[in-house]
């Protein structure tokens, strides 16, 4: 049996699944308990697990992540919510300097089994300070695992995998995907970190996408099929660990690569994929390695402007056509 649920409801289902299984899983963040989250993605958790395991915090991002870190070092498996990924900048010391380095600096004396969930990316007209796609920030830090699911089933499975993982995981939920629906099987769902999914097979070009760019890449692939171009679409799902094997195998077959990312142009994750493919697939290539990104600007608010700057299906189609020509 399977049911159709939203990406939003998948978050609560994934958390509940793991909290039922493991009493050491605790969840904290701003407005996450009584209010059920500003995106309503954690509705019902307080009622099921009580105020000791589902806790509202002050607006103190450093205090939230510090609590998660200290608890992870001493026997709990905390899940902390940072309401918008933009706010990671207010607790970047914890994210970039404390959480990822402490296991290494102490030569393995501590483990850091924690998950930071956060609403990431644009598309909701929230303007430049609530719309950034910052998964590339996290990817740049040694010691963080980075996950960004594109559909409800992956939200549950990858969230379960993240919570069970003994290392710190940044879990980016693309906020424009919260209302989107997908088929989810009944029962426990547990996925694996670091495994990309080939969601559409093709022979002319490989399109690698993440989170909200995945449905756009699929739409583009369908349009391309109509004009005789066969595109393979890979949902990367994780940036760290990075499933380079799936990407490399695909590009060696198709001989062309287009990455589609929401990150601004400079140092977005697509640049890393292009660099790896350039080094390791060079002799198999028949076209320029190409990135579709947002321009290197803050994301503007107005409908027309945001739509112009987020990678669209048209832009993906156009980029692929140029590569295949």
């Amino acid at each position: 049996m399977a049911e159709l649920i939203t990406y939003r409801d998948a978050v609560a289902r994934g958390l509940a699944q793991e909290m039922r299984r493991d009493p050491s899983v605790h969840f904290l963040g701003e407005d996450v308990a009584a209010a059920g989250g500003v995106f309503k993605a954690t509705k019902g958790l307080l009622e099921e697990f009580g105020p000791q395991r589902v806790r509202d915090t002050p607006i103190s991002e450093e205090a939230i992540l510090g609590a998660a870190m200290g608890a992870a070092m001493t026997g709990l498996k905390p899940v902390a919510e940072i309401m918008f990924s933009d706010f990671l900048a207010t607790c970047w010391d914890l994210v970039a300097v404390e959480i990822p380095k402490t296991r290494y600096m102490t030569d393995g004396q501590v483990t850091m089994p924690l998950v930071i969930r956060t609403a990431n990316g644009g598309g909701l007209r929230f303007g430049a300070q609530h719309s950034q796609a910052v998964e590339n920030w996290a990817m740049a830090i040694p010691g963080l695992k980075v996950v960004a699911p594109s559909n409800p089933k992956d939200v549950i499975g990858l969230l379960a995998a993240a919570i069970r993982d003994p290392d710190p995981v940044l879990f980016f939920e693309q906020k424009s995907l919260y209302p989107s629906k997908g088929e989810v099987p009944d029962g426990e769902i547990v996925d694996e970190l670091g495994v990309a999914t080939t969601i559409r097979s093709g022979s002319d070009v490989t399109i690698v996408a993440l989170a909200s760019m995945v449905p756009r890449a699929v739409d583009a692939a369908e349009e391309l099929e109509g004009i005789g171009i066969s595109a393979e679409v890979i949902d990367l799902r994780c940036l760290v660990p990075l499933d380079t094997a799936t990407v490399i195998e695909s590009v060696k077959r198709t001989s062309r690569l287009v990455t589609v990312e929401e990150n601004p142009r400079l140092c977005g994750w697509g640049a890393e994929i292009v660099s790896i493919v350039g080094e390791e697939c060079f002799w198999h290539l028949d076209g320029p390695l190409t990135r579709v990104t947002t321009p290197h600007i803050p994301l503007p608010s107005a409908d027309a402007l945001e739509d112009e700057f987020l990678p669209s299906v048209d832009r993906i189609v156009e980029a692929v056509q140029k590569v295949v020509q």
Binding site: Q52, P58, A67, M73, V97, Y104, T106, P113, P142
Partner: protein
């Protein structure tokens, strides 16, 4: 956690006397270690930077003796003293300072990141303020697990002006966490006097009321006084009474770090504080209170012998294997980011 061991006491010592010998042993060992560390910097054996607790030993000592073996210590880059005070072997600490494989962190931490989890020394954090919220987390975990453990978090006066200090105090109070925050106010942040850049006279204590906490100020050069406030605050935390914030007034004998001769401090101020050096003043008090000088001498001799032995072990130890650089990023022991 008393670490005092006397081979042949000349008479039966009271519990209080044993405690005070334990405190004396702590300050003497830390002093001996820090003096040796300084000498080894001068010899070029310790690279990078280092921050000594010379003159500030009584704070780590008082808390070290008041803590239970399974309590948690969180300290700063000036953390040799706090790490040793929990019973971490000197040889492992010295090995870490010298960048040897025998160091407590295998050479990956260094002077600013000393950690010995098995001794409850949960890390030395080198970003001002970072570890206050982290100590809260350990306290939260203890609360959830109902373990009775307490987290003690040491930091300097400069920390009181950073956001994490204020976030952590509010959070600790609201969640009623078993945590004790200890501000070691040595009057100077790095090169600037804390009083020149702070809105209140007592940088920690004057902020306590904003978080529903009692203002507590203690003479940080007095091991007896520190022990007393430590024991009280730890007991309060352990029995569900929530967090405390303690401001311990003290002074560092040297500069902020290895590179700093500390010349921004007036001569008369330095001289006045040297008069209050916790090691000789405590020694004199113990003698005046009737403790046997032989017992004190024994502690001093043993401390020097321990430091000598630790130095020998560290100097003889090999540098870390180069492959060690690629280990222990992840819980699987490795550092791989791709397949």
């Amino acid at each position: 956690m008393s670490t005092t061991q006397l081979e042949e006491p000349t008479r039966d010592l009271s519990e209080d006397e044993l405690l005070r010998l334990g405190l004396y042993r702590q300050v003497v060992r830390i002093r001996a270690f820090e003096e040796r560390a300084y000498r080894l910097f001068m010899e070029g054996l310790v690279k990078g930077t280092s921050h000594l607790s010379l003159g500030m030993e009584a704070i780590a000592a008082g808390f070290g003796e008041a803590m239970r073996a399974d309590d948690y210590t969180f300290c700063t880059y000036r953390g040799h003293a706090h790490t040793l005070a929990r019973g971490t072997p000197m040889a492992g600490v010295m090995g870490e300072l010298l960048g040897r494989a025998s160091g407590v962190c295998g050479g990956k931490g260094g002077s600013m990141h000393l950690t010995s989890v098995e001794h409850g020394a949960m890390g030395s954090y080198a970003i001002i303020g970072a570890h206050l919220p982290i100590a809260n987390g350990a306290a939260w975990s203890a609360q959830v697990r109902d373990s009775g453990q307490v987290a003690v978090c040491f930091f300097g006066d400069g920390t009181t002006n950073i956001g994490a200090f204020h976030e952590a105090l509010n959070f600790a109070k609201v969640w009623n966490l078993p945590v004790v925050f200890v501000c070691e106010n040595n009057l100077y942040m790095e090169y600037t006097a804390i009083g020149d850049v702070t809105a209140v006279e007592h940088p920690a204590a004057d902020r306590a009321s904003a978080y529903g906490l009692e203002p507590i100020i203690v003479d940080g050069n007095d091991p007896d006084a520190v022990y007393e406030v430590a024991a009280t605050a730890i007991e309060r935390a352990r029995t569900g009474g929530g967090p405390s914030l303690i401001e311990a007034k003290t002074y560092r004998h040297g500069g902020h770090s290895r590179a700093d001769p500390g010349q921004y401090r007036p001569d008369e101020e330095v001289a006045a504080w040297l008069e209050r050096d916790p090691v000789p003043t405590y020694r004199a008090r113990l003698l005046a209170d009737g403790l046997d000088e032989a017992a004190l001498t024994e502690i001093e001799t043993q401390a020097q012998a321990d430091v000598d032995a630790a130095t020998d072990v560290a100097r003889a130890a090999p540098p870390p294997d180069l492959q060690a650089a690629y280990t222990n990023l992840w819980a699987d022991g490795g550092s791989s980011w791709r397949n």
